[in-house]
């Protein structure tokens, strides 16, 4: 299946802003995170199609996965 992965803030360093990835059916967010060389502890916010998600969540064809470190403002 094909998903779009978007990275933000420091996660872009040495990686990418946006990439299309072809993944086996049933891949979860954790797999994508670990394959990017990120650790679970580094993850601040996961969004799938603009909704908050969790590491265990399985991705579906066409999903947009957005990963942020813990950042904030206001």
């Amino acid at each position: 299946m094909q998903v779009t992965v978007k990275l933000f803030a420091t996660f872009r360093n040495g990686r990418f802003k946006i990439a299309e990835q072809v993944l086996p059916e049933g891949t979860d967010c954790r797999r994508v995170v670990l394959d990017l060389g990120l650790t679970e502890d580094e993850i601040g916010i996961i969004m799938i199609n603009g909704r908050h998600g969790v590491l265990d969540q399985k991705l579906a064809w066409g999903d947009v996965l957005s990963l942020f470190p813990l950042v904030g403002g206001g």
């Binding site: 803030a9 942020f68 950042v71 403002g73």
Partner: protein
């Protein structure tokens, strides 16, 4: 002993008063709101001599505590018609605290057209006629005051917006680099203008300084507190690196980035105005990624943003301003947004109210969508010069909406709604609706828990838990706003178990008192109820705790979310 410094602008007198016992435990917002509630008739015209303008440093302002340099300003707001507290960094708060001034209260107004400046120092205050600096922008005022009185002088000033009593006018505060921080939102600059005070200078020479009752205990708590701030990923790393503008991409992804006057939740040009792009641009142009608004700030969310030739454009370049002139107005030119930010500092006008106003003005057809050059021209030539159109624009989003018959006007209690769509981030909608300040994200920043996973998580698109979340945060914020602390200490305070106790330990060590966590919560509740009582007596009731109708009637993409709280559900907020 700390004193109350009272200035009467009607008869041009001043006196130093002892602090009433009931005010002794108060500072910052708790004190300014208490003074306004006690001394201002709620139904008075906010620009009349019956209103007062008061300033109060927080309980810890002027101490060595990290991030404690905030100054609160309070009055009845000419924008909302309700009570107003606005706090800012800069050097003035710490200087007033070290002079032993618990509050500066300015009452009355001159009976003729004469303008004045105030000079505050160890001998009290002098009231001096001012002619030379009238009509000048804030940067010129700061430069002139430094030339007159010395580089270290603290300055609180109004630009042309305040002189012309525009209801979006700020009181601008000199920062450590002689640039500007702002008492924004609600038109306090117009109140200062109504008292015909162009600027207040503060001479810190010979200040007694802030006495700490138990210096050793204070030092231990201050160390724990600073460690918690630096150890949290948001305050220790995210904010110093990307500033608050990191939120552009986050809110865009979440579908809560209000775009084209709140008709969409995502902006095509988001990456060009994002914190990530801003960070790269600042580095490439030799600006400063980190910068503090006051001495002792260790979070350093501010920055210095240069143009492509490496020349200074602006600092304190915030998410809400960039969102407002950017996504809300469909502008993706970050350099023009930076120019506008600096112009707004110079004119002394609120960058949220004005940015939201521009989106409404675009909807009205006054200028084309995305036309950043015309926006810059209007700031300088219309608002800055006080033309008839400029005065309407300087009245904020509500004023332009009324003058031009626009129905989609994002305001609550006539104050512009900032940077987070309340349909897609429902907790912040409860804050906008119920805050005593009018629409104000800082009053109860549910974005932390709705979007950023700080202090737990409450789904932003569902109604469940939002009223309670907003209530708890508004209570905590009212208390934090009384300490002199920057509100960004809330990020570690929500997550780090030692942070809040260390803050309370510092207050206890400073004053030789024995506050508990419950006392602090009760203080927050008392402040909110006091402010609410003032508003009700001023005519702002639960009927005004509502979002504009279009949020109910127009769904916002991508989540097709609407504002679906009933009136009774919103009113439940005040059940505490």
């Amino acid at each position: 002993m700390d004193k109350i410094l009272r200035v009467n602008m009607t008869d041009l007198t001043s006196k130093l008063e002892t602090v009433p016992a009931a005010w002794a435990g108060l500072g910052g917002r708790g004190l300014t709101s208490t003074i306004v509630a006690a001394e201002v008739p709620p139904t008075c015209h906010a620009l009349s001599p019956q209103n007062i303008l008061c300033f109060a440093p927080g309980l810890l302002t002027g101490t060595q505590a990290a991030n404690s340099g905030r100054l609160s300003a309070g009055a009845k707001s000419p924008l909302t018609g309700g009570i107003k507290e606005s706090n800012a960094g800069g050097t003035a708060g710490q200087m007033l605290a070290k002079l032993g001034i618990k509050a500066l209260i300015i009452e009355g107004a001159p009976k003729d057209g004469t303008w004045y400046n105030l000079n505050v120092g160890t001998a009290g205050v002098s009231i001096n006629e001012e002619k030379e600096l009238l009509g000048l922008g804030n940067f010129a005022v700061i430069e002139a005051v430094e030339a007159r009185l010395g580089k270290k002088t603290g300055v609180l000033t109004i630009g042309t917006a305040g002189e012309l009593k525009m209801t979006a006018a700020n009181i601008s505060v000199k920062d450590p680099d002689s640039k500007i921080r702002s008492h924004g939102r609600g038109g306090l600059g117009a109140v200062m203008g109504s008292k015909q005070i162009k600027f207040i200078s503060i001479d810190g020479d010979g200040s007694p300084g802030v006495k700490i009752a138990h210096p050793e205990k204070f030092k231990v708590a201050a160390r724990t507190f600073a460690k918690a701030l630096l150890g949290h990923p948001v305050s220790g790393e995210g904010l110093p690196t990307f500033g608050t503008n990191v939120l552009v991409n986050i809110l865009n992804e979440a579908g809560g980035l209000p775009t084209r006057n709140f008709t969409m939740g995502r902006f095509d040009g988001h990456d060009k105005i994002s914190g990530e792009t801003m960070n790269e641009t600042i580095i490439a142009r030799g600006g400063k990624v980190k910068h503090g608004c006051h001495a002792g700030c260790i979070i350093q969310c501010s920055q210095v943003y240069n143009d492509k030739d490496g020349k200074y454009l602006t600092s304190g370049f915030e998410y809400e301003t960039i969102w407002g002139l950017g996504a809300h107005c469909c502008t993706d030119d970050l350099d023009d947004i930076a120019r506008a930010d600096n112009m707004m500092d110079d004119i002394g006008i609120d960058s949220i109210e004005t940015a939201v106003m521009f989106g409404v003005a675009m909807e009205a057809g006054i200028l084309p969508w995305g036309d950043s050059k015309e926006m810059l021209r209007m700031l300088g030539e219309e608002i800055g010069k006080g033309t008839p159109l400029g005065r309407i624009m300087g009245g904020g989003a509500g004023a332009v909406g009324r003058a031009y018959g626009v129905t989609r006007v994002p305001v609550v209690k006539n104050q512009a709604i900032p940077a987070y769509d309340p349909r897609a981030v429902k907790g912040i909608g409860i804050t906008y609706a119920t805050s005593t300040m009018g629409a104000d994200h800082t009053a109860g920043y549910t974005i932390a828990t709705n979007i950023l996973n700080v202090g737990g998580y409450v789904d932003p698109l569902k109604k469940e838990g939002q009223v309670e979340l907003s209530r708890n945060l508004q209570i905590a914020t009212a208390a934090v706003d009384s300490t002199g602390m920057c509100i960004f200490i809330a990020f570690p305070a929500l997550d780090h178990p030692e942070c809040l106790p260390a803050l309370i330990d510092m207050i206890n060590a400073r004053f030789d008192i024995d506050l508990t966590g419950d006392d602090v919560t009760n203080l927050g509740k008392q402040i909110l109820k006091l402010e609410r009582k003032f508003n009700i007596e001023a005519g702002l009731t639960n009927v005004h705790d509502r979002l504009p109708d279009f949020f109910k009637n127009e769904a916002v993409a991508p989540h097709n979310a609407v504002w679906d709280f009933t009136d009774a559900e919103i009113d439940e907020f005040w059940n505490f």
